[in-house]
């Protein structure tokens, strides 16, 4: 074979033997450079060969620093060969040894995920990703080989897979390919790009542990481990953030994995910066903590009602046993604005979340001891990827996930984007499906900036979620965040000539009752609406309110027909109408509204209640609370009938949240929960 000439190439030496065929170093006599030349395995059926060639040609269109470039696909005397970039380096499989340093795993992992994102975006799936197929150069670049060359397995049925497995076993390459094969492909399904994310997870695990996650002596044992087994725990030196990224890649169900390689890349980049310094043992979340001294902290007992009050200059916490008298503590985070707060009572926790923003940037912090100590991560865990050019301005919403997924958290940020955490808020990844939405470049900022400020999770359907963006409108996903559709039909826009555009609405708040997740209420920048079909279309419900302009909206905890709002006079004069601060309530889903004003200031009260400064607790009768821009905090323990001033003289209030300690986080509605059907129409373009 040496010195053989194929067109412009002369074979110089043999580099190795792969499953697909032998690989040679060859000299390109025209361009005067060395290349790698690979012969495709002999004896393939013509169809299979043609398929392989088509794939190789598709792969030759890929151009990415972490993908080995395919220069040419050629044929001589019925023998097919591929000419590729010659890479100086070592296969990752040879570097792993007893496990790589976690920094290297994250670095190579993010590079490989970037390569997959590039290829998947061009409809090229690898299907045979393994540590032997990644070369690491002396400069520290990971290069993925053999893109698109394993298509063969895709079209095979179950019997053929079995035959292929037998073939693999008989050829002694069992640990080569099968160990990386995703469960769905083992089950005979065609599999998709998420199979590559599984394979990358297997590689990351292998690099972390020094051995494969699933092992067996026979094909049967190995297949069984892949299909049903849990990988052994990773060594303690692997940071929990990285471990949970790997774990998510290795979810048996493709829908439970990262849905796009870009998300995985973002998650790996995020953990890369999050573990800058190893965490000292024993600290909550493994992050540095801040101890607030000189503050009389709250003494909280089970059954107490807590109020979390975020202001422009810090956080205040209130507690009460009876909702009559309130103890107050604060200010926490001196001088920093807290636009987002949340209480997380899932899985036996009692965790407070607060966002901080000031001249030093925006950070998310939490406390498990009612404010005595707060996490203070050295590195900002929520960050935009470098290639986006975006910088985090503020965190507008913190939203614990569903009760069934107690490790999941969501965040809405400015500039408008959704972040997701699968490890209790320790590491966060950008939800790419929304960030890459074709509408995004045309979203426009409102007075408060371009923000994603509301997140609603359908408690009955874990694939469905709604977000509200000012000014982009309402968007929904029906597939767990992979794709998003604008849901704004019927919502009027005043700031553009087109009155009913597909998107661009300046939505101020949306609300949903957990027992009626198909029904949404919406307070727009002018306009009050209800949708009975998951936001597919909206109808006006501003029946008898002094103004349909407003910011805040809150759902009654038990009655799905009951919603609270605080009308504001106009876009121009953003104060309570006629200087009288009134909450309005509907108890018939918007057919009519009644004013609730007893105990609220009615003369000269040019107050503003911002979008997150109105809330309810989960007791019965429900408590309702609001904070004003002038720093007054009001509460009602009888569903809004009568109000009392709880505090005044605070900095401008931007956020009020209520929680009952030790109570179940979601209200238990008296009605029988109804399962809703997904909306029928879907006009918005879908994004891969």
């Amino acid at each position: 074979m040496i010195d053989r000439v194929l067109g412009r190439y002369v074979i110089v030496s043999k580099l190795g033997e792969g499953g697909m065929g032998a690989v040679y170093r060859a000299r390109d006599q025209v361009l005067q450079r060395d290349v790698a030349l690979k012969f495709l395995a002999q004896g393939l059926a013509q169809d299979a060969q043609r398929l392989l060639l088509a794939e190789a040609r598709a792969a030759s269109a890929l151009s990415h620093p972490n993908i080995c470039t395919v220069h040419e696909v050629g044929e001589v005397d019925g023998e097919f060969y591929i000419v590729m970039e010659l890479i100086d380096g070592k296969p990752l499989s040879a570097l792993i040894g007893s496990g790589l340093a976690y920094q290297a795993i994250m670095r190579y992992g993010a590079q490989i995920a970037g390569a997959l994102a590039h290829a998947h975006g061009r409809n090229v799936i690898h299907r045979d990703l393994k540590s032997a197929n990644v070369i690491v150069t002396p400069e520290g670049l990971a290069k993925v080989l053999d893109f698109g060359l394993a298509r063969r397995l895709a079209g095979l049925g179950k019997d053929e897979v079995t035959r292929t497995l037998e073939h693999l076993e008989s050829h002694g390459s069992l640990s080569g390919t099968l160990s990386y094969m995703p469960p769905e492909v083992l089950c005979g399904q065609p599999g998709d790009h998420r199979g590559d994310l599984w394979a990358l997870g297997v590689m990351l695990y292998e690099a972390a542990a020094g051995h494969l996650p699933f092992r067996g002596q026979t094909v049967f044992e190995l297949s069984d481990a892949i299909l049903h087994g849990a990988p052994p725990p990773l060594p303690a030196r692997i940071p929990p953030g990285l471990a949970s990224v790997i774990q998510r890649c290795l979810a048996k169900e493709p829908a439970q994995r990262y849905q796009r390689a870009g998300e995985l890349q973002a998650a790996l980049e995020a953990v890369q910066s999050a573990v800058f310094t190893p965490a000292p043992a024993g600290e909550p979340h493994g992050l540095r903590t801040t101890v607030h001294r000189g503050i009389k902290h709250l003494q909280v007992r089970d059954g107490d009602t807590l109020l979390l009050v975020g202001t422009m200059k810090g956080v205040f916490l209130l507690r009460s046993q009876s909702r009559e008298r309130w103890d107050v503590a604060g200010p926490y985070f001196h001088g920093q604005a807290a636009y987002a707060m949340a209480y997380d009572g899932r899985a036996g926790r009692h965790r407070l979340w607060a966002s901080n923003v000031g001249v030093w940037g925006a950070f998310l912090r939490c406390s498990d001891d009612y404010g005595r100590t707060w996490t203070n991560p050295p590195d900002a865990p929520i960050r935009f990827p470098a290639e986006s050019g975006a910088t985090l301005k503020n965190i507008w919403q913190v939203c614990p996930g569903r009760t069934s997924e107690p490790e999941v958290m969501y965040c809405g940020v400015e500039p408008a984007a959704l972040y997701e955490s699968r490890d209790d808020g320790e590491t966060w990844s950008l939800v790419r499906g929304l960030f890459d939405h074709p509408h995004r470049p045309r979203w426009a900022p409102g007075a408060g900036g371009l923000t994603l400020h509301t997140i609603l999770l359908d408690p009955q359907n874990s694939e469905r979620m709604y977000v509200a963006i000012s000014a982009g409108g309402v968007y929904a996903t029906e597939d767990g965040g992979r794709t998003w559709q604008a849901r704004n039909r019927g919502v009027r826009v005043v700031h553009t000539p087109e009155k009913y555009p597909e998107f661009g609405q300046c939505v101020h708040k949306i609300a949903m009752h957990p027992a009626r997740p198909e029904r949404l209420f919406l307070q727009n920048h002018w306009g009050l609406y209800r949708s009975d079909n998951c936001g597919e279309c909206w109808q006006d419900i501003a029946n008898g309110v002094p103004s349909d302009f407003g910011f805040a909206m809150a759902m009654h905890p038990h009655n799905p027909d009951c919603v609270y709002i605080v009308p504001i006079e106009s876009d121009e004069f953003r104060c309570a109408p006629e200087g009288s601060l009134r909450v309005y309530r509907t108890r018939n889903a918007g057919e009519s509204w009644e004013a609730l004003a007893r105990g609220l200031p009615q003369k000269g009260a040019y107050e503003t209640v911002l979008r997150d400064a109105l809330t309810v607790d989960s007791l019965s009768p429900a408590g309702v609370y609001l904070g004003t821009r002038s720093g007054q905090l009001f509460g009602s323990a009888d569903e809004g009938k009568t109000w009392k001033k709880l505090l005044d003289g605070l900095p401008p209030i931007v956020c009020v949240k209520a929680a009952v300690v030790g109570a179940r986080p979601a209200s238990r509605p008296p009605r029988t929960a109804r399962r809703s059907s997904p909306p029928k129409k879907n006009k918005a373009p879908r994004k891969r």
């Binding site: 540095r288 001249v359 030093w360 100590t373 203070n376 935009f384």
Partner: protein, 110 residues
Amino acid sequence: MPVAFLIPGALRSFAGGQRQVVIEATPATVADALAELWTRHPGIRDRVATEQGQIREHINVFVGNENIRDTGGLQTPVEDGAEISIIPAISGGLTKEDYSPRLPASIIEK
């Protein structure tokens, strides 16, 4: 000759409580000096710079008395023995401790 960073009150908890951090290296530019600073004290990085590597809008960095925004930004050359100050702009961010070091700290980081 080393360079010295002056650390504002709000960030001292990330520098082991120090008001001044001396970098025993010879950075050529402010960017090099900052990279040295946050290798030693990682928590400072994300509070002074954005994720895109730019100094935050309301933070100023001075080499001696010169704001680097006027002298070439992060590429501003650093002389041996230079003193580099990180100071929040007038928009807010200085603590009482920055103004009067004798006042007791009410918020102490562990």
